[in-house]
Structures are given as structure tokens and as C-alpha cells.
């Protein structure tokens, strides 16, 4: 008994790593996810089990990430970034082509998508950089940060994988924004972006243009590209205030919603649980983001503040872009709904982010710099 207690004393710091507030919010999201997936995967044998398996894996990742000390995070920032960049270059040179895009790298034992790594490595790297320059920031540092950000983003956009490129751009952009990029520059960039839109249009791939066009007028191609948006909008709208009820969604169960276990799972949720369900979901995401921003504000040093803030805003971006896409106000980009959609890679990335947040909060007092 005494030995057990001693053992407990030694390991408890590593076991009780979960931030209660974050844990409760994520647990509630996961519960909704399991219920929705059960309905969405009603005739997709193995998908529900696969989802549960992914959740278990994600939980373990979260647990491990929550055990990573901020020192380790700082030390791994540069190596992770460099590895990510090298892998991206390797993809550009030797990657496998699938569906017309070169995103995968065959390593002999399996295929990896290096752009996914950048979603975490990017904010780590930039937060590390600003931490190093803390107290002596010049405009010059923002230029370097912008370069560090734009090189991988450019490589990913060229694959082409616009969705991931935007997410990585967001992740790094948040760090730069939080680090204090002057408002004048932000305003200038916004103007430049507006001016550059026509240029961007001319640079886009046909299927990317098609998606934008389809968003503006989904009915132009009702059985082709517009099908996703029209059908998911009908699903959301027909859900009404209270929803059609669990397992009762006709759009879902008559197979009118493509990708209904992955990117379009929100359509399933929204059809079956209605506006009330959506309110619950929005509240949960808001709570998750609020908690994350709070962790950022209380973190021990600049690195942790920037990292926590950026990770939190990535959650926000995922949730907003996905729900906006399904309800028809944003173009269709392959972004999953955090902790809801099927998909191991995104789930692991998000769990990693949540775990790091928990670790940052645990170390908020121990690491004054």
C-alpha cells in the first residue's frame, strides 16, 4: 500500500495532466461526434468502429502531448519546421499524385502528407522565433517571420492543396498578428489582398475556380459540383428548429449528402438536431476557444502565449470554415469539423494541439522567462 502511494506520488504529475475545463468541453464534443457518426455511418460498415478507434488514438496523443514540457516544445520547434519543409520539398519532387494533386510522400512503409505536420510546426517555429527576439522586435523580424511562413504555404498551395495552405497560413498568421504586427501593415495587407484578388484568380487551378463559382451560384451545376452545397444546405434548412431526430435525417439516410462522415458531418448533425443542436455545438466551440484564449493570456512566456493563441485560433478556423462551407457561405475546401469528422490525421493534429494547450496551462507559473 505504501509502495503504491509512493508510486502514485511519483507518477501523478504525469497522469493528472488534463485541464478540467478543456477536457469537459472536448468530452462533450466527442459525445456529440459519436452520436452523429452512428447515424452518418448507418450503412458504412466499419466506419463507426474506425471513428471510435481514431478517437482512442487521438486521446493517447492528447495525453502524451499534455506531458510535453514547454522546454521540449521550444527545442523541437526548429527541427520540426526543418523536417516539415524538407518533406514538402521532397513531395514537390517525388510525391505521389492522387486525384490530380501531389500531396503524398511514399516512404516505403506508407504514405504521409507532410503538409499536415506544418499545421503544428508552423506556429511552433514562429512562436520560437518571436520568443528569441522578445523585447527587441523590429519590423525586420516580421519580414523574416513572413518568409518563414510563406515558403511552406507556397509549397502546399502548389501541390495544389488550397485548404491546407490556408490553414497553415492562418496558423502562422495568427502568431504574427498576436506578436504585434502593426495595424497599419495589417490594413495595407488587407487592401493589397483585395487588389490582388483578380491576380489570384488567374493563378488558380480550374477546379479551384469551379468551387468559387459554384459557391456564388450552386444551381449552375446542380448534379455536378454544386451538388454538395445544394444538398447540404437543404439538409441544414430542413432540420428546422428541433431537427428531424436521431437517425431520422432523410437527406442523410437517402444518401443525398456526399462525404457525410467526413467534411459534411455537420449537415448530418444539423439535419437531425436542428437549430437547437447547432446552438449547443456553437456554444461548445465558443467555450473551447474562450478557454484557449484564456490559457494564452495567462501563459508564462511569449512563446507559450503565442503558441496557445495560435493553436486556439486554428480550432476556430477549422470550426468556422467547416460550418460555413456546409451551410453554404464559404467555398468547399477540405477542412474537417474539429473532434466531429471522421479522419485520423486531422483528429491527431487537433488532439496534439489540445494536449499542448493543456501543458502550457499547467506550466503557466513554473517557467518565468
Amino acid at each position: 500500500m505504501k509502495g503504491f502511494l509512493q508510486l502514485w506520488q511519483r507518477v501523478r504529475a504525469h497522469v493528472l495532466v488534463f485541464d478540467p475545463a478543456l477536457s469537459i468541453i472536448i468530452a462533450l464534443l466527442v459525445s456529440l461526434s459519436v452520436v452523429t457518426m452512428y447515424s452518418a455511418a448507418f450503412d458504412f460498415s466499419g466506419r463507426f468502429d474506425g471513428h471510435v478507434r481514431n478517437l482512442v488514438v487521438a486521446f493517447m496523443v492528447l495525453f502524451l502531448a499534455a506531458n510535453v514540457s514547454p522546454n521540449v516544445m521550444m527545442r523541437s520547434a526548429v527541427p520540426l519546421y526543418v523536417v516539415g519543409l524538407l518533406l514538402l520539398i521532397a513531395v514537390a519532387m517525388f510525391g505521389d499524385v492522387s486525384k490530380g494533386a501531389r500531396r503524398w510522400l511514399n516512404l516505403g512503409f506508407g504514405r504521409v502528407q507532410p503538409s499536415e505536420l506544418l499545421k503544428i510546426a508552423m506556429p511552433l517555429m514562429l512562436a520560437w522565433y518571436f520568443q528569441r527576439r522578445e523585447g527587441a522586435l523590429r519590423w525586420f523580424d516580421f519580414t523574416i517571420a513572413a518568409l518563414l511562413l510563406l515558403i511552406p504555404v507556397g509549397l502546399i498551395a502548389r501541390q495544389p492543396d488550397l485548404g491546407t495552405a490556408l490553414l497553415v497560413l492562418g496558423a502562422g498568421g495568427f502568431v504574427i498578428f498576436l506578436a504585434g504586427l502593426s495595424w497599419r501593415v495589417i490594413g495595407g495587407l488587407a487592401l493589397a489582398a483585395a487588389a490582388a484578388a483578380p491576380l489570384l484568380w488567374s493563378q488558380m487551378h480550374d477546379y479551384q475556380r469551379q468551387r468559387v463559382l459554384t459557391l456564388l451560384d450552386p444551381t449552375s451545376d446542380p448534379l455536378g459540383k454544386g451538388f454538395h452545397i445544394i444538398q447540404s444546405t437543404i439538409a441544414v434548412g430542413s432540420g428546422g428548429l428541433w431537427g428531424k431526430g436521431f437517425m431520422q435525417g432523410t437527406q442523410t439516410h437517402l444518401e443525398f449528402i456526399p462525404e457525410r462522415t467526413t467534411d459534411f458531418i455537420f449537415a448530418v448533425f444539423s439535419e437531425e438536431f436542428g437549430l437547437i443542436g447547432n446552438l449547443v455545438l456553437l456554444t461548445l466551440y465558443l467555450a473551447l476557444i474562450a478557454r484557449g484564449l484564456m490559457i494564452s493570456a495567462q501563459a508564462a512566456n511569449e512563446f507559450m502565449r503565442l503558441l496557445a493563441g495560435s493553436l486556439t485560433l486554428i480550432f476556430f478556423t477549422y470550426a468556422f470554415v467547416n460550418m460555413g462551407m456546409v451551410s453554404g457561405i464559404l467555398p468547399v475546401v477540405g477542412v474537417p469539423l474539429p473532434f466531429m469528422s471522421y479522419g485520423g490525421t486531422a483528429m491527431v493534429t487537433l488532439a496534439l494541439g489540445a494536449g499542448l494547450l493543456m501543458s502550457i496551462h499547467r506550466h503557466r507559473k513554473s517557467m518565468q522567462s
Partner: protein
């Protein structure tokens, strides 16, 4: 101190920035909320009506697969309308119990169950999966009476691929099988998924694979209105499917079948090419297998038995089996020696029965040697010593460079997938493969078709046809015509332009006349005794195991699998060749023993219409086309389905 103040400043600033971010988040989420209210409250009625009433479903109409015929119209691959007993897993509560109950009504073999289980694993729950295929009328009647007891079990009329010739030409025709996960990925990459919606099968090997896009056709679609319950209300529009084209092969099935019989239990390969056109008349790989086993999914034990059989029946030998060509290489070596000037036709060389290189003695197959040998005699008596020297004088790279345009160690470009190149050795090849320098002592064996040489029988037949053509290269091919299944209009396949290797006529004449004498006075004179045409040939024997310096090859003492391969290449008539043949009989011993007699029978049949054993005047003739098989159009459509019952691929509600 300044740093601390700056740090505090930065902390303050980041908190302000976080506040801004929070405002942004609230704004974005408010937009979402506004959108949700707009969709789900303001326009709820509208969307609900759309969801309830207006469901248009596109039901794919799979095309009818093209048929395959031999050159005389014998049917090689057919579509039959068959009845299958199928189960939709998510409409059945207890699968095992249901199958047991069905088993009491209709015979369900263990292999049917195993196949069902495997298909179940890679299907979706609402897919209809066959438990029994090809029901007899009696079984059909028995099930129809008891149908009410089996919800979720249905009889479906399907178009099933059958290969009426069974094992014959199986490696040429290949087979189709159920679309696998890998096939799906390939279709996605090629952006062909939409053409395969509703299709269950795809070409896996042989012509069925290489002409998949031609045979498959184009899928059609039917737009139907579906009620809230998933029932068909009415059909709105219909785009008919375009059936796939029929293929007319250049294979003469009757000859193919006879060659397969002549091989008996022996393993081997034979390729017969019409030199002027590149058409392949026979393409034999022995042993063979029954492609019908694969169509509905082969059951694992049968698959394992085929796969682990030491005779390798699934191996497409002429396409993928590589062998040293042995002495059949000598005519090509002779062309190389003459063209490069390494040998003058009349120069005599002494053949004492060996070629000495340093301490190593390369031995001739005839220990006493052939005396004084010139180029003509070297082919007729098959002098090894002569070609050891030729190869040694030329060097491996010069040989390599000469043989590349002849297609040795290269893809022939035949219209089958997964052809292998084999090995045409060179110094560069050895460096690439073994990171070692080529040794001069390795070169002599190359000259007699041994050593690292490894070619397919298809390559040998192709090179033989090129020699018969006086150095004009024509791509070998198995498909002669594509036939429109509706109009029956035929169009020939397109071939790349011919290539002329630019051989000197006197060199060609010299080598060909030597090959003619091989059949008259040389190694294959017995096999060609009494032939009514002039054939130019060359025997070959390929070592399977190495023989040590002072050891003699003794067929009786060596295990059957280690005996030499028997090879033969020939074309005839020598002055105006109509057929070029290459044969290998694995472990058949000396080339003239096993391989040459088969080639003789092929030539007799193709040129004279009878076999060597037939009395003169017999006319076996080509196989008659089978008109009754040709003119029965098979039903393209699935049987009409009673209203209310779901069609395959139609979305349906499942509870």
C-alpha cells in the same frame, strides 16, 4: 530593466490582440448563427419541401461488356444472363442463420460461403452481395416459392462473363473480377469513377485488362424521382449506356488448343507470329488455368492452390517468363558478327571442342569439336566454340548495342499489360545491377545464349519474325479488329510505323540459308523430315544449373526440374515467311527433342492445314465460325423490376 519593461509591454499587447481575436471569433460565429436561423427558421418550410418532395436520383445503367472472338469468329469471352441469389446485409438480421436456412433450400457450397464472406468485407452494407451465382431453373422455382421467408434476399438477373473455352488461351484472354479497393483508387486517379458507377467487375489480366477501356463501354444513367420513402415514382430521363466494342483476336483458337494438348503435362511456352503483320496466331502458356474461377471471386483455398502450385499455372510464361535463349541466339549472333564486321562469312576457325581463355576452358556441347568451322557451318552444327570466340572478339557492349533494336531485353510493346524486359547484359547493366565491373571471362557464354542473357519467348518469337522480315520490325499484337457491337462494323487496330534495321541482304541470305540447312542436315533434321515447305530454324538448349569444369551433363542423373530447357525457333516458308514460331519446353532436354516437333506441327497446320501424321490430302482447315453463338444478342438490361422494389444502385431507405 528595459527588457523587463518590454516584456510587460508585450504581455499587455498580446492581451489586447487576444481581445481582438475574441471579437473576430464572436463576429464569425454570429454570422454562422445568422445563417442557421435564416436556413432553419426563415426558409425551413422551403427546404423541408425540397427534402420531402423533390428527390431526384441518378441510377447508373452499366454498359454491356464487349465480346472477344478468335480470328475465325470462335467466341472466347461471352456475357450470359444468369440468375444470382443475393443478400443485402443490412436488411438481414442474422446473416449466418439466413444462409443456413437458404442452404436447406438451395445448395450452398462451403466455397460459396467463403466467397460471400470475402465480398462482404470489401462491400458496403447496402450493396447486394451474391451468395450463389448461376441458379438453375429448379433452384429458381424453389426459392421463388419460399421467398416471403427471406426478407433481404433477392433473385437478380445479371450479366455474367463466361469463358466458353475454359483453360484454353486463358493467359491471352485473361479474366475480369470484382472491382477491388486498388482498382477503385486507379479509377479515381484516372478520373473514370463515374463511368464505373453501378459496375461490379473490371478487367484483371490479359486482354480483359489491356483493352478494359474498349471493352467496358460508357455507362448510361437514368434520372428517377424518388419518394420520401425511397421508392421510385417515375423515370424522368434516360441516357442509354454505350456497349463496349467487341474484339477480334488474331489467335487461331483451334491451333492454340492443339498446341496446348501437344505440350501435355510439360511446362513451357509457344508464340507464333505472322511476320508480315505482327499478328500473333498462337500464344501458349502451359500449364494454364480456368479463368471462369475468378469472375465471381475465387475462393481462398482454390486461389492458394493455384498460387502455390510449383508449376505456376498463373504465370504468363511467354510474357513474363525469362529464359536464356541457348543456341537459338546464334543466328542473331551471326547477324551481329557479319553486320559489325567481326566475322567474314568464309573465314574458317578451328573448333577443337573448347575455347581457352586464360585458365578457363569453355566447352563445346560436342567434346571432340567440329573441326574447321565457317559461319554457315557454325549455325548448322551449332558450334559453341565459334560463338565463344565471336562474342569474345566483339565484346559484350557491341553485342548489346546490336541486339537492342532486335528487341532482346526490351519490351515488345505487345497489347498485354505487365510485360517484362528480361536481361540483355552489358557492362552498364552489370554496374547498375551488381555495382561490379564486367569481367572478360563472362563474355564468351553470352555468344551461345547463356550467361546473364534472359529473354521472354515472346521476344524470341518477335526477333525471329524480324529476321523472317529481313530486318523489318513490326509490333506483335493479339487484337486484330475492334467491332462495333451494334453495326458489326469492324475497324483494324492502329499500329506504330514499321522500323527497318537496315541489314545487308547478303548477310540475311547467308544466315537464313544456314538455318534452312539446320532443318535439312543439322540438329532438327529429324523433326522436319518430309516437310512440304522449306523452313529455317535453330534449336537451342538452355542450362538450368551450372555444370562444373570437368563434369558431364547427364540427363538421367539430374532431377527433372534441373534438366535443360528445350528451345526452338523457326520461320517458314524460308523465302516468303508466313509464320515465325518460338517454343520452349521447360526441362525438355535437347532442343530438337521436345521443342522442334511442336513447332513442326504448328507450321504444318498453319501452312498446309493438316498435321505431319495426317495422310496427304487431309484438310483440317481453320475452325469454322460458330454462327449460332455470334447472332444471339444477350440482354443488356437487367430484368424489369416490379414497382416498389429497389433497383441496384438506387438509394433506398433502410430501417
Amino acid at each position: 530593466m528595459i527588457e523587463v519593461r518590454d516584456a510587460e509591454h508585450e504581455l499587455r499587447r498580446i492581451r489586447v490582440r487576444l481581445g481582438f481575436a475574441w471579437v473576430l471569433v464572436l463576429l464569425c460565429f454570429s454570422t454562422l448563427l445568422g445563417r442557421f436561423v435564416w436556413l432553419q427558421v426563415m426558409r425551413h418550410e422551403d427546404f423541408n419541401a425540397q427534402a420531402e418532395d423533390n428527390r431526384i436520383a441518378l441510377v447508373p445503367v452499366p454498359p454491356q461488356r464487349g465480346l472477344i472472338y478468335d480470328r475465325h469468329g470462335v467466341l472466347l469471352a461471352d456475357n450470359l444472363s444468369v440468375y444470382t441469389l443475393e443478400i443485402v446485409p443490412n436488411q438481414v438480421s442474422d446473416l449466418e442463420q439466413t444462409i443456413d436456412d437458404l442452404g436447406r433450400l438451395i445448395e450452398i457450397a462451403p466455397r460459396d460461403r467463403r466467397r460471400f464472406k470475402r465480398l462482404l468485407e470489401d462491400s458496403r452494407n447496402w450493396d447486394s452481395i451474391p451468395i450463389r451465382t448461376r441458379l438453375t431453373d429448379e433452384e429458381l422455382a424453389r426459392f421463388s416459392v419460399a421467398k416471403f421467408r427471406f426478407p433481404g434476399v433477392e433473385i437478380r438477373a445479371r450479366s455474367a462473363r463466361t469463358y466458353p473455352q475454359g483453360e484454353s488461351a486463358a493467359h491471352v484472354i485473361g479474366y475480369i473480377g470484382r472491382i477491388s479497393v486498388d482498382d477503385k483508387r486507379r479509377l479515381e486517379d484516372a478520373d473514370l469513377t463515374s463511368n464505373y458507377v453501378g459496375a461490379s467487375h473490371i478487367g484483371k489480366t490479359g486482354i480483359e485488362l489491356s483493352y478494359e477501356s474498349t471493352l467496358h463501354g460508357t455507362a448510361g444513367a437514368e434520372e428517377i424521382e424518388v419518394s420520401a420513402g425511397g421508392r421510385t415514382v417515375r423515370s424522368l430521363s434516360r441516357t442509354p449506356a454505350q456497349p463496349g466494342a467487341n474484339l477480334i483476336l488474331s489467335i487461331d483458337l483451334k491451333l492454340q488448343r492443339m498446341v496446348e494438348e501437344w505440350f501435355g503435362d510439360r511446362r513451357g511456352a509457344l508464340v507464333a507470329i505472322e511476320p508480315a503483320t505482327g499478328e500473333i496466331i498462337a500464344f501458349v502458356s502451359k500449364p494454364t488455368f480456368d479463368p471462369n474461377l475468378f469472375v465471381d471471386g475465387i475462393d481462398p483455398p482454390t486461389w492458394q492452390a493455384l498460387n502455390e502450385d510449383p508449376d505456376k499455372p498463373l504465370l504468363n510464361r511467354p510474357l513474363r517468363g525469362t529464359y536464356p535463349p541457348g543456341s537459338t541466339y546464334k543466328p542473331f549472333m551471326a547477324m551481329a558478327a557479319l553486320t559489325t564486321g567481326a566475322r567474314a562469312p568464309e573465314t574458317q576457325y578451328a573448333d577443337p571442342g573448347y575455347f581457352q581463355l586464360g585458365a578457363h576452358r569453355f566447352r563445346d556441347s560436342v567434346p571432340s569439336g567440329h573441326g574447321s568451322v565457317n559461319l554457315h557451318k557454325s549455325i548448322v552444327v551449332s558450334s559453341d566454340t565459334y560463338y565463344y570466340k565471336v562474342a569474345y572478339d566483339m565484346g559484350v557492349d557491341a553485342i548489346h548495342d546490336f541486339m537492342v533494336p532486335w528487341g532482346f531485353g526490351q519490351l515488345t510493346g505487345i497489347d498485354l499489360e505487365n510485360e517484362v524486359t528480361g536481361i540483355l547484359p552489358s557492362t552498364a547493366w552489370k554496374m547498375r545491377r551488381y555495382k561490379q565491373k564486367w569481367l572478360p571471362g563472362e563474355t564468351p557464354s553470352i555468344g551461345i545464349g547463356q550467361g546473364a542473357n534472359a529473354f521472354t519467348i515472346l521476344q524470341l518469337a518477335h526477333a525471329t519474325a524480324t529476321l523472317a522480315n529481313d530486318g523489318v520490325v513490326i509490333r506483335p499484337h493479339l487484337v486484330r479488329h475492334l467491332e462495333d457491337p451494334v453495326t458489326r462494323k469492324r475497324r483494324p487496330i492502329e499500329l506504330p510505323p514499321q522500323r527497318n534495321l537496315g541489314m545487308r541482304p547478303e548477310h540475311l541470305a547467308l544466315v537464313k540459308s544456314a538455318m534452312v540447312d539446320v532443318n535439312r542436315f543439322g540438329t532438327s533434321r529429324v523433326a522436319f523430315a518430309g516437310a512440304e515447305y522449306v523452313a529455317a530454324g535453330k534449336t537451342g538448349t538452355a542450362q538450368v544449373i551450372g555444370i562444373r569444369q570437368n563434369e558431364r551433363y547427364d540427363a538421367r542423373r539430374i532431377a527433372e526440374r534441373h534438366r535443360d530447357h528445350s528451345l526452338y525457333m523457326v520461320f517458314a516458308p524460308a523465302d516468303a515467311p508466313r509464320l515465325a514460331v518460338a517454343v520452349i519446353v521447360e526441362n525438355g532436354g535437347f532442343g530438337a527433342q521436345a521443342a522442334a516437333p511442336i513447332a513442326r506441327k504448328v507450321l504444318d497446320y498453319h501452312l498446309l492445314g493438316r498435321l505431319p501424321s495426317d495422310p496427304p490430302g487431309t484438310r483440317r482447315g481453320p475452325a469454322e465460325p460458330e454462327p449460332d453463338l455470334r447472332d444471339v444478342p444477350e440482354s443488356v438490361e437487367p430484368e424489369p423490376v416490379p414497382p416498389g422494389e429497389a433497383v441496384a444502385g438506387e438509394p433506398k431507405r433502410t430501417r
